[in-house]
């Protein structure tokens, strides 16, 4: 514009030059102003645009944060809260610890999230407590059944002892006993599924052999179970009942799902981890699919069983085994069987085993399944008769109160039930004993006579007891001392006093 003005100024006539120049100048200034303004506006627009861009970015970021928070709520917080509730935490605790994490959100959405969380937690809580109370109810009933069954089993055993000489009675009692054991197992299963311990507790270690036969006792077809080699170990008291129950369920499965004529094989061998107990049947076996399904069932059961999931025809067995395995660290596997049947291997970890000679002498079974060396001093069979033999010696040899006192430590079983005059003295001297050994008591707490006592007790007290030394160190020889006792009674003159009597009283000091 300035150039145009200059050209006009040069070519225009002199008279019109000044206005033209003015016009040109004005126009130039106007154009300059306009363009300056345009540039300014352009800059402002750019600034605004940038500002909007940043604002949009911020909004988008907010949106993304909210979206992330929602996803986090749905994918992490809610499942975590539900899981913790299911583990038994209180709803308030769960809410507090879960909600404190979303700082980035606006207060409203935070509140909304909180409300959502709260309602979900409350719903879950309500369902959990309902299920809990259902489970407790089930366990409670199972416990009552268990108590009755246990009482029944004890009574039956007493009856079996009482009517042991009448085979017809005895056979019936055995059948009843078996039926009771089956009921007991069912009650145990229900208790386990309700999340409780199975049945009774054992205070002492029990030999594995007894445990395996205990498991056999609880299934219908126990006659088909063939017990093979059994490692000579004992199971610690706490694990006895769970192990018996788990094995009973495995045996039950094995005998139930195999042809009725076939045998079920039960073996227990020592392995590196502890003891592997194998249950193998001669049935048709499982297809690979069925096998993996069963193993899946075991795994599921480890995670916890819902009583509601058991369905119409519950297959309790594997669920119970899985649950027990999880609680007591057993390993259960269903490896393919060589014989085509189903094989289940339950491994008991070393921590649940003890090699100590088993204390359970019930039925004279003793510590091991195999024979015991005859010269082992504390052999279960040897101990009773030897003690009994020694017990009588001091009385006849030196009937002074001292002798009674010395003997008292060893023979308090007999003296606790003695009714003659010296009983109180001896009873006083028994203070050091851990438990008075008159363990045979009736239900009413009264001491009960031992079976053998009526024959031996009075006779031994009055008659000289000939030569206990010969039998004292032998193992049981129960007939020998009886025979000697009789010959001693019938002899005109008692034989020489027992040679071991003096040493007996001296080495048996308190």
């Amino acid at each position: 514009m300035a150039v145009v003005t200059a050209v006009i100024a040069t070519i225009a006539p002199t008279g019109g030059r000044a206005p033209a120049i003015w016009c040109g100048v004005v126009a130039t200034v106007m154009v300059a102003l306009v363009s300056a303004e345009a540039a300014r506006r352009g800059r402002a627009v750019a600034a605004l645009r940038a500002e909007y861009a940043t604002r949009e970015a911020a909004l988008l970021q907010d949106l993304r944060r909210q979206e992330a928070a929602t996803i986090r709520l749905a994918e992490q917080h809610l499942p975590a809260a539900v899981a913790r509730l299911q583990e038994g935490e209180f709803a308030e605790d769960v809410l507090l610890s879960v909600s404190a994490q979303d700082e980035a959100l606006s207060p409203q959405s935070q509140a909304a999230h909180q409300a959502l969380l709260r309602s979900v937690v409350e719903a879950v809580q309500a369902e959990e407590s309902m299920r809990d109370s259902a489970q407790r109810g089930v366990v409670n009933i199972a416990r009552r059944v268990q108590a009755i069954v246990h009482q029944q089993a004890t009574d039956l055993r007493a009856m079996e002892d009482r009517h042991g000489q009448e085979p017809a009675f005895f056979a019936d009692l055995l059948r009843l006993d078996h039926g009771t054991a089956l009921i007991g197992r069912l009650a145990d299963s229900i208790a386990v599924l309700g999340g409780a311990r199975p049945g009774r507790q054992w205070s002492k270690a029990v030999p594995l052999y007894s445990v395996l036969r205990g498991a056999m006792s609880r299934i219908l077809d126990y006659q088909r179970v063939e017990l093979h080699t059994v490692a000579e170990v004992a199971v610690v008291g706490t694990a006895v009942e769970p192990l018996i129950h788990a094995l009973a369920e495995l045996l039950d499965n094995a005998s139930r799902y195999s042809p009725p004529k076939t045998r079920v094989h039960l073996t227990a061998v020592e392995v590196h981890m502890g003891i592997a107990i194998e249950v193998e049947d001669g049935g048709v076996g499982l297809s690979e699919e069925a096998r993996s399904r069963a193993e899946g069932m075991l795994k599921e059961a480890r995670a916890g069983i819902d009583l509601n999931d058991l369905g119409e025809s519950p297959r309790l067995g594997l669920a119970v085994v899985g649950r027990l395995a999880q609680a007591y660290d057993f390993k259960v596997a269903l490896p393919p069987s060589v014989y085509g049947g189903v094989r289940a291997v339950l491994t008991v970890p070393k921590s649940l085993l003890t090699t100590a000679p088993a204390t359970g002498r019930a039925h004279g079974i003793g510590a091991s399944s195999g024979p015991r060396p005859a010269d082992r001093p504390a052999a279960a069979q040897g101990a009773p008769s030897r003690e009994a033999t020694e017990a009588f010696a001091p009385r006849t040899a030196s009937p002074s109160p001292d002798a009674y006192r010395n003997a008292g430590a060893a023979v308090d079983t007999h003296e606790a039930v003695d009714t003659d005059g010296s009983a109180p003295v001896r009873a006083d001297d028994r203070t050091g004993e851990e438990t008075p050994a008159e363990a045979e008591r009736t239900a009413s707490g009264l001491p009960q006579r031992r079976r053998r006592r009526p024959a031996t007790g009075p006779a031994a007290r009055t008659a000289p007891r000939p030569g206990p030394a010969e039998t004292a160190h032998e193992e049981p020889a129960p007939g020998v001392w009886m025979a000697e006792l009789q010959s001693g009674l019938s002899a005109d003159k008692p034989r020489a006093a027992p040679p071991r009597a003096n040493s007996d009283t001296s080495d048996k000091g308190e």
Binding site: H163, M216, S217, I365, T413, A437, G479
Partner: protein
């Protein structure tokens, strides 16, 4: 003795029918009564049922069925089932003491005689 009694109070996990394999009566076939004396003919082998091993140990010298029953704290019927197994295998021998079977006719005659006095 005291320890074994306490164990017995607690009881073992196995029931009697498992020990006998479900059988309850073999008295007739084995011809055993309470006073039949049993003596073992061999030492228990490894791996046999613990009760059988216990019987073989107890019967190293002749013992009556009733005494075995008391020693193992098992009812007589269980013992006679187990003994029937052992007898069948020839692992124990049974002897019925002659003196335990008095002549009933003689006793009756004596009673009659006494009453006639």
């Amino acid at each position: 003795m005291s320890t074994s009694d306490r164990d017995w109070d607690e009881g073992g996990p196995e029931r009697l029918y498992v020990i006998t394999g479900g059988r309850a009566d073999s008295t007739e076939q084995a011809d055993l009564d309470l006073v039949t004396l049993i003596v073992s003919r061999e030492e228990p082998k490894a791996g046999i049922q613990p009760e059988l091993a216990a019987i073989l140990r107890v019967c190293r010298s002749p013992v009556s069925v009733a005494e075995i029953s008391a020693h193992l704290t098992l009812p007589t019927s269980v013992i006679s089932v187990l003994l029937a197994d052992l007898l069948a295998d020839g692992r124990v021998e049974a002897r019925t003491p002659a003196s335990s079977r008095p002549d009933i006719a003689l006793i009756e005659a004596v009673i009659d005689g006494l009453q006639n006095l």
